[in-house]
Amino acid sequence: MRTIVCLKPVPDPKHWSQLRLDPKTKTLIRREIPSIINPLDKKALEAALQLREREGGEVVVLSMAPPNVIPVLREALAMGADRSILLSDVAFAGSDTLATSYVISAAIRKMSPYKLILCGDQTLDGSTGQVSAQIAEFLDIPNLMHVNAVETRQESGYRVRSRIEHGNMWVGVKPPVVLSVSKEMNEPRYITLMNILEGERKTIENWSSRDLLLTEPWVGLSGSPSQMAELFMPEARRRLEMLGGAPSEMVKRLADRLHRLGYC
């Protein structure tokens, strides 16, 4: 059985406060923010590794990103993935979720037969949470999101617990299926030095658009219906007034102001 884990390198949120907009071009100034594995994708990989421990098979990590994300893929290999495939091509640049899902689904199709495709529910940066469902749609197979437990049943496939508003639902579904996992799924394993050395010995394959059977022109910027009309920072429309003094004075002034505003 083959499990494919879709993994996105994302800019490390520790550095996001440095994000600024260029006042003239209104584009994002990212500077050199280092990448990490999107945290929920790491949980997807952990889930794949645990399933492999129970049932055997192969875990392939699939990522669509520029080539400078190799260190992030190395980390996935160190965690225990068997293979890593990087989908990298200038033709993919500017892809929105639809185009991204289309390219990833073409790569998955090339890896048939597969039983399970695991993703994180959403990424830290874009947070659209659309790609897993759209991959499934392009592959014409079922998908479930917000997954926090997966049980295997011999005859009938998987029994999956998926979080909904006010609770969970248990769902029976047959493979192949795309599951995207939520934060309650698991805690990813730690990586030892041995793991890192083992990861170094594995190869990272690079597939370009020519390696994929892309039947439609839905890649890159031209294949992306969504466009950005405008980027802006949340407006700082509040006028800060500091209430200074000793704690007792501050408190008195605050209570007085709230009283005048009618809150007490």
């Binding site: 949120p13 996001w16 406060s17 994000l19 907009l21 979720t97 639809l98 830290l124 940066d125 874009g126 947070s127 659309q130 897993s132 469902a133 759209q134 749609e137 392009f138 079922p142 998908n143 479930l144 999101m145 917000h146 998926s162 979080r163 909904i164 508003e165 006010h166 609770g167 969970n168 639902m169 248990w170 769902v171 029976g172 579904v173 299926v177 992306s224 219906p225 969504s226 466009q227 950005m228 009309a229 980027l231 802006f232 920072m233 949340p234 700082a236 509040r238 006028r239 800060l240 500091m242 209430l243 704690p247 007792s248 408190v251 605050l254 209570a255 709230l258 505003l261 809150y263 007490c264």
Partner: protein
């Protein structure tokens, strides 16, 4: 003949309507009115008669209903197929749904079927002068907002966070109920819901609260959390939290405010020991008055508040509670 230009997905599970569908209907009616567009509620499921009548009281021009025994429990593939057929037949300009567990993956599959763009988790919706849907979408943990649109494909699609828009007032029923085809087969239902575990029903007290007192990581431990409850109590407010207190178990998941939690609209928000990360602050954008209490004068929250107090909350909250009590008596 279906005439509506904007379709709003009326999310229901076990015949219980989700508020977000009503909130989106309210917003859709608001943006449609100036240009004379019509708005439809789209209901998919089985045995929906009671809901259908109810939906007519919220002001939709049409209620489109796909009713079929195979649609009795939600499956994204069967629901998406029914909606795809209806959209291809009637060509609405815009299709909106909630950014809920159901709405998120249903819309994503539907957008892929229709090869159109989908703006996710939006916190604002506008119609441009060219009648393009501009969706305000937070990215990078709320540090950046983007206006996203799909100028060349139809329908234009977006999902909106629950609690962002206001539900319309109920009124005298109006509009037409129009059945739509539900040509599906058992093969379209590709997974079976075996069991639903109902968790604690989270009341929408935060969304309705006029005063919210929220705590962050700086509260330090569970034992001190009661100070927030005491402040909220004297101000007749509710208690909210950032992510760390929820992860630590000091507060409940339903109390989390921000991009991955709730969007709230209080008159007064008091942030205690909260640094002010954007993914939290984006959830309180609409608050009328924002008060920040933090030991660190450099905390980002001071850039987004009206009244700031630098100091240890343990020295500020106890006398503050007493001071408020004096005004109230």
């Amino acid at each position: 003949m279906v005439e509506s230009n904007i379709w709003v997905f009326a999310e229901q599970r076990q015949c219980r309507l989700a508020d977000v569908g009503l909130e989106l209907l309210g917003k859709a009616l608001e943006i449609a009115a100036p240009i004379g567009w019509k708005v439809a509620f789209v209901l998919v499921g089985h045995s929906l008669n009671d809901l259908t009548e109810q939906l007519l009281t919220y002001g939709a021009h049409e209620v489109l209903v796909a009713d079929h025994p195979l649609l009795s429990s939600y499956c994204n593939q069967s629901y998406a197929k029914v909606l795809e057929n209806a959209i291809r037949k009637h060509h609405p300009e815009i299709f909106l749904s909630g950014a809920t567990a159901m709405g998120t993956d249903l819309s994503a599959r539907l957008a892929a079927k229709l090869r159109t763009g989908l703006s996710a988790h939006c916190i604002g919706l506008e119609l441009s002068s060219e009648r393009k849907l501009l969706a305000v979408v937070p990215g990078w943990g709320g540090n950046i907002l983007a206006k996203i649109y799909s100028p060349s494909t139809q329908p234009q699609m977006a999902t909106a966070m629950p609690g962002v828009f206001e539900k319309p007032q109920r009124r005298k029923p109006r509009g037409k109920i129009i059945p739509i085809d539900a040509n599906i087969t058992p093969e379209d239902v590709t997974y079976q819901v075996l069991e639903i575990e109902r968790g604690e029903i989270q009341e929408d007290t935060l969304e309705r609260a006029e005063v919210i007192v929220a705590g962050g990581w700086g509260i330090g431990n569970k034992e001190e959390w009661h100070w927030l409850e005491k402040v909220a109590s004297v101000l007749n407010g509710a208690v909210g939290a950032t992510r760390p207190p929820v992860d630590e178990g000091w507060a409940k998941e339903g109390q989390m405010i921000g991009q991955s939690g709730r969007t709230v609209h209080p008159k007064l928000y008091i942030g205690v020991a909260i640094s002010g990360q954007m993914h939290h602050m984006v959830g309180i954008r609409d608050a009328e008055t924002v008060v920040a209490i933090n030991q660190d004068p450099q905390a980002p929250i001071f850039e987004f508040c009206d009244l700031g107090l630098v100091g240890d909350y343990k020295e500020i909250l106890p006398p503050f509670i007493e001071a408020v009590k004096q005004y109230s008596t």
